[in-house]
């Protein structure tokens, strides 16, 4: 192994030597610089690997040949090697990225960079306080130097503020160090550990000065205006160095100083760190400059890790994994994002839509966003998971909540930004040009996200259990995205089919039902994909990612696996949803609600794991503490996915604006994930009480109200897909209600409805999707009379709405029948009545849907519309066959579900004699109902046909129009505001109150952000004042006075 001194020697020596080279030789200088950086990276990475695999033990370097404390010593331990690797790799790739810019600026730029990296190296390794000070000064001066690589008035003023701030901070650090020396007689960290820190106040104040100076270097809120200005002014490549290399090194300094810090310091660190995380993310909401936004995010992430360091007592042996994975995520993501920002060079995040010129960049952008937010399979996922678990385990609920809320805020602006990039109109401008020296670092860091994710999976305590194969299968489609749709579609269907076949022997009970919905349903909806031409770039990886997540939910045995799958599903579905033309906002709100829900689930799981030795899902059943709270958290989390009232506002837009075959995927399949979650929750936790009030009782009301309002709002929609989306909300309300009944019949109904909802909603969305496909509009009043043009679609819609409305003899009635029995059994009449009221309201939108589209007046421009494409019809007719089988033979669906439920709910099961079902209260024979109805229908039809045999079929305007004639189909088709009187009567119930509420929440948080961020007035003196005030305030808090 190479002595760590060579890090210093090589970087510094080359820096000195480069001075000899003049401008003409700057090419040589560049190559030498890169080589030196590579050498430094090699040293640090080889140390890191050696230490990791235990081939190497930590090394201490004594300068000047004397032992510390008399001389300065450098330590190369595991942590040091890790941080050195980060810093040096950042240096290497950062330099490579900036290569052309640096080349223009001359040799000095390389010198400054080398010295910056050298300074950071020593900061990490040194064990001497004063030496730390010296090299901190070196790196801050060098930073001030590279800031002006982009010489501009803004850069200069930012650099000046930066210099002033770090100067003051350095002075305070120096004061602290010298007094520390005075009180302890040493400057060496290894030596001072023995010092009794509590000895007298002087030393604590001295320590305080040291620590607060180091903390201020981390740019804590609110004393960080100077740092943010720097981030905004510098180009992305330099911002990357500051955000990754410098920040990592400073972070390590904090970590290094911990042993000498008084205990109160940990709380201070936590407060400052998580406070910074929270406020940075809050203030970033209003930020529109990409670099400054990244700066906020950067400061926030570092704050989070600082907070984690402060909380290290509570994290046990997971601390390392948590901090490292969070840091790695920040490091990779921020590097990548800053680099992309450097390539795009835009001043407003809305202008980032130019990124679409380069799909690879867009891919990387979203990759880094997901990495930063801790989505699986990336490292921060495990970090955040373990963090929350440990925080819950040690009762740090406040910090737990704060971290989750702040993470959600982070999600808001990052996903908004991603949405802008994917959806906004790109501003005109020069085409993007990306050099090879820019691709290499980006590519390597992009790959590193997966590599680190893989290692994090294996390092985390239960991560190795996770089945990554489906996800890998999905991600593999990124590699073959250049293939045409039909190949990819076939592959996808084959893959899912095989996976179902592979899982099939092990499936039973709920798993069976839901895997069937997820996989078989997925295959059915994918069939429609054959209707697409071209490549559909990005569709298959993300769709399969969603399905991988869904099936992962079913396969999950542990909470971690479940949460992993949940997040994978969320990520995949986000991309599916945002594919729609106008889906930008809807995808954002979908993502935000999903994130919020996911964090609630995470919190719930973490609470459930308190005091339990394992994380299998069954711990929910045995959670010793806070069971009701766990239940509520998880239930709300799952209800964001089932779009219960209050949490539903994301759904209509997201489902309505999605593509033809995506709508059925997200509506009929994805929503079931929430149902599945609720099932595994309720089945394990049973009935929980808040005081004397059963939570299930509350859920039943929520379900009922959701059903009514969802259906009511559906009835007032003008947009066909939106109507169906609201209808989904309503149906999910029934399911929630059924689950809340917590009885055999209730669950039977819920699951039967879940299955039938999958069938009819897929049917309807595909059918309506086919119509929209042909008509290129979703407004129902623009349609009409299409029965003659699209008869097959009409038939599937007709069957679909009859099933939806639960009208006998089709299978939808089963749900209604069981429901009523369950309601009477449970005696929850009012909710039950609301549910059946909702069922009746469903007629309104069902009729409206079929009437305004297929009946009434055919519009001129649709006179030659063709039937929907075959591949959109094909899955519909497969579903139709299934529906008819379930209708004629209801026990083929209900009996297995009933058997499945018996272990959980032995009482109140239906008794089956063939197709004849008996409940406690009533009976029903679906087959005979079908026979009778069909027989009567045929008889009546024959009678009418006989009587009416010579009828003339007339055309669309041959109607009695009060002795006039119709003028235009548009003015004759009664469709717009169809239920006007109904709206007049009870339309107030469908007022978008919830939307308004969330709108106010959003506006309010933005207003607060706007208010608070005014403290960054741009005036350097104000920033200094903030630093001083920050120091004083922290002093007052930590010492409780002077």
């Amino acid at each position: 192994m190479v002595t760590p001194v060579y890090l210093v020697v090589s970087l510094l020596g080359i820096a000195f030597a480069l001075g000899i080279l003049g401008k003409p030789l700057r090419k040589v200088a560049g190559v030498i610089t890169l080589a030196t950086m590579a050498f430094a990276s090699y040293i640090s990475v080889s140390w890191f690997m050696g230490l990791w695999f235990g081939e190497q033990s930590a090394a201490m370097v004594f300068t000047a040949g004397f032992r510390p404390p008399f001389s300065i010593n450098l330590l190369m331990g595991f942590e040091e090697a890790f941080f050195l690797s980060l810093v040096n790799l950042a240096g290497l790739f950062g330099t490579l990225f900036l290569y052309r810019t640096l080349m223009k600026s001359g040799v000095n730029a390389f010198v400054i960079l080398l010295i910056l990296i050298m300074g950071l190296n020593v900061i990490i390794m040194t064990r001497d306080l004063f030496n730390l000070f010296v090299f901190m000064e070196i790196s801050s001066i060098a930073t001030a130097g590279i800031i002006i690589l982009n010489p501009h008035q803004k850069t200069i003023s930012a650099g000046f503020k930066y210099m002033l701030a770090t100067g003051i901070v350095a002075g305070i650090l120096l004061l602290g160090i010298i007094f520390f020396y005075h009180f302890t007689g040493t400057l060496n960290l290894d030596d001072t550990i023995r010092v009794n820190i509590e000895a007298w106040k002087g030393i604590t104040v001295a320590l305080f000065f040291i620590l607060i100076a180091v903390i201020v270097e981390l740019k804590p809120f609110p004393a960080n205006g100077w740092g943010l200005d720097v981030y905004e002014s510098v180009p992305g490549g330099i911002g990357m160095l500051i955000s990754t290399a410098s920040a990592s090194a400073m972070l390590y300094v904090v970590y290094k100083l911990l042993p000498i810090a008084p205990p109160v310091f940990f709380q201070i660190l936590t407060t400052i760190g998580i406070g910074t995380f929270f406020f940075s993310n809050l203030l970033a909401l209003k930020q529109t400059h990409p670099n400054r936004l990244l700066g906020y995010s950067s400061v926030g992430q570092i704050g989070l890790i600082t907070g984690v360091i402060g909380l290290s007592h509570f994290l046990g042996n997971q601390f390392g994994l948590i901090a490292a994975s969070l840091l790695i995520s920040h490091y990779l993501a921020k590097a990548g994002l800053f680099w992309i920002s450097g390539i795009l060079n835009k001043t407003h995040i809305r202008e980032w839509s130019v990124i679409r010129q380069n799909r690879l960049l867009l891919f990387l952008f979203s990759l880094f966003v997901f990495l930063l937010l801790g989505f699986p399979p990336f490292p921060a996922f495990y970090g955040k998971w373990e963090l929350i678990m440990q925080l819950a385990g040690s009762g740090q609920f406040f910090w737990l909540g704060a971290i989750l809320v702040a993470s959600l805020l982070e999600g808001v602006y990052l996903f908004r930004w991603l949405g802008y990039a994917m959806k906004l109109e790109a501003p005109a401008g020069e085409p993007l040009r990306v050099g090879w020296n820019q691709y290499i670092p980006l590519g390597i860091f992009g790959l590193a996200t997966f590599v680190t994710g893989y290692y994090a999976t294996h390092l985390s305590s239960y991560g190795s259990l996770i089945n990554l194969i489906p996800l890998a299968f999905a991600l593999g489609f990124f590699l073959i995205d250049f293939l045409p749709v039909y190949i990819k579609n076939t592959l996808a269907i084959a893959g899912m089919g095989f996976y179902f076949y592979y899982l099939y022997p092990d499936l039973n009970g709920f798993d069976m039902v839901f895997s069937a919905i997820f996989l078989v349903g997925g295959i059915l909806t994918l069939l429609a994909g054959y209707a697409y031409k071209g490549k559909r770039i990005g569709f298959y990886p993300t769709a399969l990612m969603m399905f991988a997540g869904l099936i992962g939910l079913v396969e999950a045995k542990t909470t971690l696996e479940f949460f992993f799958a949940w997040e994978v599903m969320t990520a995949g579905s986000y991309f599916l949803i945002i594919r729609g033309k106008k889906s930008m906002e809807h995808a954002l709100s979908y993502m935000l609600f999903s994130l919020g829900g996911a964090y609630l689930i995470l919190a719930g799981f973490s609470l459930a794991s308190i005091g339990q030795s394992t994380i299998v899902l069954d711990i929910l059943a045995t959670a010793p503490l806070y069971a009701p709270l766990i239940f509520i958290l998880l239930a709300i989390g799952f209800m964001t996915k089932t779009a219960s009232i209050g949490l539903h506002i994301w759904l209509p837009g997201a489902h309505a604006e999605a593509e033809t075959d995506v709508s059925p995927m997200v509506s009929s399949i994805l929503l079931k994930a929430g149902v599945f979650g609720l099932i595994i929750l309720i089945i394990r936790m049973g009935e929980q009480h808040l005081g004397s009030l059963s939570i299930l009782y509350i859920l039943s009301w929520i379900g009922a109200i959701t059903a009514v309002l969802g259906n009511l709002m559906a009835a007032f929609q003008e947009d066909a897909k939106r109507l169906l989306a609201y209808s989904s909300i309503g149906v999910l309300g029934y399911i929630l209600f059924g689950l809340a009944l917590f009885s055999h019949l209730g669950w039977l109904a819920a699951i039967a409805i879940a299955v039938t909802h999958f069938l009819f909603k897929a049917l309807l969305f595909l059918a309506i999707g086919g119509v929209v496909w042909r008509l290129k509009t979703k407004e129902m009043y623009r349609m009409g009379g299409l029965i003659t043009r699209m008869p097959f679609t009409f038939i599937s819609v007709l069957i679909g709405i009859i099933v939806l409305a639960g009208i006998p003899p089709l299978s939808g009635f089963a749900g209604k029948w069981i429901f009523t029995n369950a309601v009477i059994e449970k005696e929850w009449f009012f909710q039950g009545a609301l549910i059946s009221f909702a069922g009746i309201i469903a007629f309104l939108y069902c009729f409206r849907l079929i009437h305004t589209i297929f009946l009434g007046q055919l519009k001129d421009e649709h006179r030659k519309v063709n039937e929907a494409p075959f591949w959109i019809l094909a899955p519909q007719y497969i579903i139709l066959i299934i529906v008819m089988v379930f209708s004629v033979l209801p026990n083929s669906l209900l009996h297995p579900i009933g058997e499945m439920l018996k272990p959980y709910f032995p009482d109140g099961a239906l008794t089956w004699q063939g197709q004849y079902a008996t409940s406690i209260f009533g009976y029903w024979n679906g087959t005979w109902v079908m026979y009778v109805v069909v027989a009567i229908f045929l008889l009546v039809f024959l009678w009418l046909w006989f009587m009416n045999r010579k009828a003339y079929r007339v055309k669309q305007f041959n109607i009695v129009f009060a002795a006039e004639r119709p003028f235009r189909p548009e003015t004759t088709h009664f469709a717009y505001n169809f239920f006007a009187p109904y709206k007049k009567a009870i339309g107030f119930l469908a007022e978008p109150g919830v939307t308004r509420f969330w709108g106010h929440v959003s506006e309010g948080s933005h207003a607060i952000a706007e208010l608070i961020r005014r403290i960054y007035s741009g005036n350097g003196q104000v920033y200094l004042f903030q630093i001083m005030a920050f120091i004083v305030v922290v002093y007052l808090i930590s010492f409780g006075g002077f």
């Binding site: 290129k776 649709h862 030659k864 003339y952 003028f967 189909p969």
Partner: protein
């Protein structure tokens, strides 16, 4: 409302292909009415009886005589006793009472409504104006002889005829129907061209298909 609605126009399908719209052909069934031969014997007699005993009158007051139709339903005259009921839509009505003079403007509506009734259908012409124009015989704006335009089953004279006269007229109509003579619809179909020509002579802005199904 305007005539442009019936002019040919080009619209574009969602795919952007032009579609030629010819409203009269595309929106309206273009068929001549058919004349139906009565059925044989008892069945037709029974049918005629039923038709006669269930007279559904189209509620369309065309002229001033309409004012005399309302009292028919009052307790004093109570036409319901005779199986006479009002029906608001021509599709379901079998009797059309032309209540008084027909202005040119109304004639168009009457023709349209008449044609929308199903065969067999009966016309009761009410008042002198329908016979020869009455006091408006030289008006620039009314027609004189209704049976130039529609086949009339029964005329009820008077200006205006009293409700009692109307009841008598209906009784007469019933008799005609029962006797199998209520075949105005067939007559209209058989002499369709003649009727149409007459109608078109009066109605200058003919903006409907030849037969309104």
């Amino acid at each position: 409302m305007s005539k442009e609605d019936l002019e040919k126009r080009t619209v574009y399908s969602p795919e952007g292909e032009p579609i030629e719209i010819d409203p009269l052909n595309d929106y309206f069934l273009d068929l001549r009415p058919e004349s139906y031969a009565p059925r044989n014997g008892v069945i037709e007699q029974f049918a005629n009886w039923a038709r006669a005993e269930s007279l559904w009158v189209l509620g369309f007051g065309t002229g001033c005589g309409a004012i005399e139709m309302r009292p028919l339903m009052t307790p004093r005259f109570d036409a319901y006793r005779f199986g006479i009921q009002w029906r608001p839509t021509p599709r379901q009505s079998s009797v059309f009472v032309i209540s008084g003079y027909l202005s040119v403007k109304t004639l168009k509506r009457v023709i349209r409504s008449y044609e929308q009734m199903q065969n067999p259908k009966f016309v009761v012409a009410l008042g002198s104006c329908t016979i020869n124009g009455g006091m408006y015989w030289d008006s620039y704006n009314t027609i004189n002889r209704l049976d130039h335009y529609l086949p009339v089953d029964v005329y009820i004279t008077g200006c205006m005829p009293r409700p009692e006269a109307l009841l008598a007229g209906f009784e007469e109509l019933k008799k005609r129907i029962k006797a199998g003579k209520g075949d105005g619809a067939n007559k209209y179909a058989d002499n369709f061209d003649w009727y149409k020509a007459n109608q078109k002579k009066i109605i200058k802005d003919w903006d409907m298909p030849d037969y309104n199904w």
